[in-house]
Symmetry: D2
Amino acid sequence: MLRIAVIGAGRIGKVHAATVAAHPQAQLVLVCDPIEDAAKALAEPHGARTSADANDAFTSDDVDAVVIGSPTPLHAEHVLAATRAGKAVLCEKPVASSVEAARQLAAELATFEHPPVMVGFQRRYDPSIAKAQRLAAEGRVGRVEQLTIVSRDPAPPSAEYLAQSGGVFKDMVIHDFDEARFFLGDIVSVTSIGQKLDPALASVDDFDGAVTMLKAASGAVAVIKNTRHCATGYDQKVEVFGSEGEVVAENLRATSIQVNDANGSAQQEVYLDFFLERYADAYRDELTAFIDAVNNGTPVTPTVEDGVAALVLAEAAERSARTGTTVEVQL
Amino acid sequence: MLRIAVIGAGRIGKVHAATVAAHPQAQLVLVCDPIEDAAKALAEPHGARTSADANDAFTSDDVDAVVIGSPTPLHAEHVLAATRAGKAVLCEKPVASSVEAARQLAAELATFEHPPVMVGFQRRYDPSIAKAQRLAAEGRVGRVEQLTIVSRDPAPPSAEYLAQSGGVFKDMVIHDFDEARFFLGDIVSVTSIGQKLDPALASVDDFDGAVTMLKAASGAVAVIKNTRHCATGYDQKVEVFGSEGEVVAENLRATSIQVNDANGSAQQEVYLDFFLERYADAYRDELTAFIDAVNNGTPVTPTVEDGVAALVLAEAAERSARTGTTVEVQL
Amino acid sequence: MLRIAVIGAGRIGKVHAATVAAHPQAQLVLVCDPIEDAAKALAEPHGARTSADANDAFTSDDVDAVVIGSPTPLHAEHVLAATRAGKAVLCEKPVASSVEAARQLAAELATFEHPPVMVGFQRRYDPSIAKAQRLAAEGRVGRVEQLTIVSRDPAPPSAEYLAQSGGVFKDMVIHDFDEARFFLGDIVSVTSIGQKLDPALASVDDFDGAVTMLKAASGAVAVIKNTRHCATGYDQKVEVFGSEGEVVAENLRATSIQVNDANGSAQQEVYLDFFLERYADAYRDELTAFIDAVNNGTPVTPTVEDGVAALVLAEAAERSARTGTTVEVQL
Amino acid sequence: MLRIAVIGAGRIGKVHAATVAAHPQAQLVLVCDPIEDAAKALAEPHGARTSADANDAFTSDDVDAVVIGSPTPLHAEHVLAATRAGKAVLCEKPVASSVEAARQLAAELATFEHPPVMVGFQRRYDPSIAKAQRLAAEGRVGRVEQLTIVSRDPAPPSAEYLAQSGGVFKDMVIHDFDEARFFLGDIVSVTSIGQKLDPALASVDDFDGAVTMLKAASGAVAVIKNTRHCATGYDQKVEVFGSEGEVVAENLRATSIQVNDANGSAQQEVYLDFFLERYADAYRDELTAFIDAVNNGTPVTPTVEDGVAALVLAEAAERSARTGTTVEVQL
C-alpha cells in the first residue's frame, strides 16, 4: 500500500482524494488545505487526517508520496519540497506558472537524486485515448499525417476562476498540447486563433475559444479545437489520420440508450460530464502507473520535461493568438 | 429497349410506371386501368398511351412485357392471359388470392412454353438486403442460426384498403415470408401471435401487429416483427445471426445529418418513408434482373413457386394466429 | 456499514465478494465454501474470514446479511436458514431448483416475520436497462407493444457445468424471463423453439439456442433470442417498441475507439465480456438497493415471487420447446 | 425542356452529360471536345450530336444553355462566348485560372445583359450539406463558432493531371473554400500548412495534404483538412459547431450493412467513392436549380463572384503555405 497525501482540497484535489481512497494499492493518509473544512470533507470519509499546512505532507513519516493539487503558483515549490523530503510526486498540470519557472524546476530536480515525479496529464491513461495512441504507434493507420483534438468544456468556470487561471492556453488547452505531443512527438510551430465567443465573458481578458494548428517535426499537423462551453457536454475526442486509415476515440456517455421516435433516432445522453466522470478510469490508471513507478521503478510518463514542453506550447499559442503570427518553438 | 405495359395505376402501379420510365433499357408504352384518369396521370408524362382494358396489354404488338399491378384477385388471370399472349410478366405479390389459386396458376403455367414470369418481392434486390444475403450465403457469419426481420409500416392504410387487403399476412407480412425464405430456404413450421394494437382499427377484422416464428428445415429460426404503424417511419431491418458473427442491414435515411445538442446526439431523420423511396433502388434492380431474364435467359427469381411458398406461409400464419397453435407447413 | 457474508466462492460468488468489498456502505466479513482455498482467495485480500460451513454465516453475530451464491439446489434451504437466523438475504437466481421448491419456499417465508429477501436478477439495476424500463414506464414510447431481448453468451460453459445447470431455460434464459416481466408485467403464454446449434454440444441433453415468444396479459409480445455462443462477445440488448417510438439499450464496449480504413469503419472492440464486466455497475447498484432495503425498509425488487414467476416461465418454455406447443401459464 | 450542350468530355464532362441526360427537364443536345471519340462516348447513348469545336455550342440555335467542363484555362473565354451568344451557363470550378482572370471575367460580364451564369460548386446542393447549412442558418446550433471541413480524395490523380492542375488549393481545396463561405460568409484571413505526404508524389511541385484555418468576419473560425489520399475512400464531412449545439453531415456509404464478429462491429463499406457517386444527387439538384434560374429567374447561387472569392482564398492559402505566414484577404 502506497501511503499518499493529497495537497489541495479544491475540485481537482477532490478527484485525486477519491481516486486514491478507492485504489486497491493506495491509502489516503492526509489531505492538506488552508481551508480545513474542505480538507476534512475529503479526508474523513476515508479515515485520513487533515492539515492546514502543506508542509505536513513533506515531513510526515507515514507519507510515501504526495499528489499535488495546490494552486498553480505553488506547484513548483511543492514539487521541490516533496522530492527533497524523499517523497514521490504526482503533480497536477501545469507543473509551474510559466515556462521559466518550469525550466528552473527541472534544472533543480536535476541536481539531486529523488523519487519519481509524474505530471498529471491523465488523458494519456484514458483507456480510449491510450488505445488510440497505441494503435497509431503500432502503425495501425500507417504514417500519421493529421491529428484532430476536440476539447470543449461543458460550461465556463466562474469569472473568479478565470481571473486567476493563467489564461485558457495554460489552464485548459495545455492538456491538448500534451495530448498532441503524446501522438506526434516534437512540435516545431504553433498558430492559434483566439476567440471571444461568450458575451457573458466579454469583460474577461482571456479567450473562451481557440483553434490551434501545430506543426510536428515529423511533418504531421495537429488541429486543436477548444471552447469553454458545449451544449452536448464535455466534448473530448481525438482523430488520428494516417496513410492507411484513421483511429478515432469518440465521446463517452453514461448509458447506451437510443430512442427512435418521430424525430429520428437519438442517443439521449450528453457526453460524460465533467472530467471527474469522463476521466475517472484515466485518473485510476494514472495512479496505478504512478504506484508502479514508485514501487517497481518503471519509467514515469509524462515527465517534468513533458510538463515544460506543454507550457512552451501554451505560451507560444498565447503569443500567436495575441499577435496573429505563427510562433516557432524550440523545446 | 424492352417495351412494357403496366396494368394498374394504383399506388404500386405508380411505382412501376416510374421505374420503367426511368430505366435505360425499358420503355413505358401502355398503362391500363379502368379509371382512365389514373392511367393517364402515369402514362402521359412519359409519352405512353392508356387503356381502360387490361386486355390491350396482352393483344398489343408493341408490348414485350407486362408489369401486373392490378388488384390481387385479378393477378392469376392476368398472368395467364399475358403469358398465353407471349408476353413476359413481372407480377406484384401476392401472385394470387389464395394458395389454392396460386397452385392452380403454377400448374397451368407448367402446361405450356412461355416467357419468364417473375414475382415482385423487390426486397431481394434491395442493395443492403441483397448484400446481407450474399454475405450470409458466402459463409461470412458461419452457420446461419437465427434471423430477425423487422417490418413496420409508418402508418396504417385506410379502412377501405384494409377491408379488401386479404389480411395482414397476405398483404404485408408476405414480403417478410419471402425474405425469410431468401435467407433460410425451406420453412417447416409457423407460429404467429396476432395483435390488435391500434384502437382506431379495433373494428377491422384483421391484426395490425404480429410476431411470428418460423422454423427452417436447416434448424435455423426466424422471427418476424410487424406493426401497421411506426413512429420513426418505415422500419425495414434484417439481422442474420450465425456461428461466426452477425450481418445487419440497417434502416436508411434521407441525409447523413447528425445533431449534437443539449438533448444528446441524434440522426434527425426518420427512416426512408415509404416503400417508393425506401425501395426505389430495389425496384430498379428488380426491373434490371427482369429485363436480363427476358433478353438473356438468365434465371428468374423469385419465381411463381416462390410466390406460392410465401402464400403457404401467410395462410399458415393466419391459422396459427387465429388458433394459437403452431402450424406445420409442407411446400 | 452492512456486514455481509457471501456463501459460495464460485464464479458468481467471486462477483459478489468483489462487489461487496468495493461498496462504500458494505463490509465483507465472511466467505463460506466447502473448498476453503476458493473461499480464501476471495476473502483474504479484503481482510474477511472464511468457513467451509455455510451455517457459520447464519450463526455469526457480526453478519447482518447473506449473499447466497451456493449451488442452485441449496438456495431455498440457505434462504430459509438465513432468514430464520434474522439475516437479510440477497439470493442468486434461480431462487430454487423448481417451481415447486420455489413456491414452497415462498409459502414458508410467509409464515414468519423476516428481514428482506431479494433475488439476484441484476439486470434490473443495469444503468442502461433500468433507464430503458423507466422511460417505457413513463410512457416515452407510448403503449408498449413488442419487446425484444437479445441474450447470448460469448462461449458455452464446460460440459460439466452444463450437465448440472438445470437446463438453458433455468440457467440462462431465466434472466430474460425476469427482464420480460420487468418491462411487460404478467405473462400468459410461452412458445419456445429450442435449438441444438453447436456440434461440440451435440451429446449434451440440453438446448444451446432458443427463440421464445411470450404473450403478456397487456397484449404486448416479447421475443427472446438466446445462444450459448456469440462471436462478438456477450450480446446483451433490449428493444422496447411502442405506439410512439422505441427505446433500445445497446451493447457496451470497453473503449470508444473507431477505426476507419480500407475495409470500412469499425468499432474494433467486442461487447463487454463477460457478466462480471458487463454488469459490474448493475451488481453495484443491486447491492445499493439491497442495503437500502435493509437499512431503510425500501421495498425489495425483485422479490421471491418474481423468482417464482421466472421459474414458472422457464419450466413452461422447457415444456414448449420439448413438445412443440404453446404453453399457457398462470402465476 | 432545357436544351443543353456540354463542353468537355473529360471526367467532369462525363458527370454533367449523364446528369443532363437523366434530368426530366433537360435534354442533352451536344457534346463538344477536341477528342471527338470522347465526345461521342458521352453523346451517342443519349442521341446527342458531337463537335470538336466548342464554338458550335455557342452558335447552335437548338442550344439554350451550356455546361462548361473544358480545361480551366478556357473557362473564362467559354463563359464569355456563351453569354455573348445568349446562352445560360453552368461553369465548372474554378471559374478562371487566377483571381486576376476571374475578376476580369466578372467585370466583362457586368458590361452587358446576359442569361444566368452559375458556378459549379455542387456541394451547396448535396442534400446532407445543404440541410446542415439550412439548419445552421436557421439558428439550430445558435451562434456558429467553429466549422470543420474534412475533404480527402480516395487516391491521388495521375502525375500528368497534377502537373496541370493549378495546385491543390485551386484544384481541390477550392470546393472547401466555397463551402466555408457557404456556412460562414466573408473570410478575412487564411493560414495554411501545406504537406508533402505521399513519397510517390515527392517530385511534384505541389502539396498533397494541407491543413488550413480561415477566420471569418463573424468571428467564427473554419478548419479545412485535406489529403490527396484516404484509405476509407472519398472522405467528405462537415461539422458546424455553435453555441447551442453542433450539426454534422457525415459520410455516405453504398449500403447500410453492419457486420458484428470477433473483431468488433463494422460498417464494411468505404465512403461513397468518388465524386460521381458521392455527389450524384448534388449534381442533379444543382442542375435543377440552374434550370429554375434560367426558366423562372430565380437567383443564381453560387455566382461568378463566389467563384472569384474561392479563387482569392485559394491563392491566399497557396501564399500562406509557401511563406509560413497568415494572409489577410479582401474580397
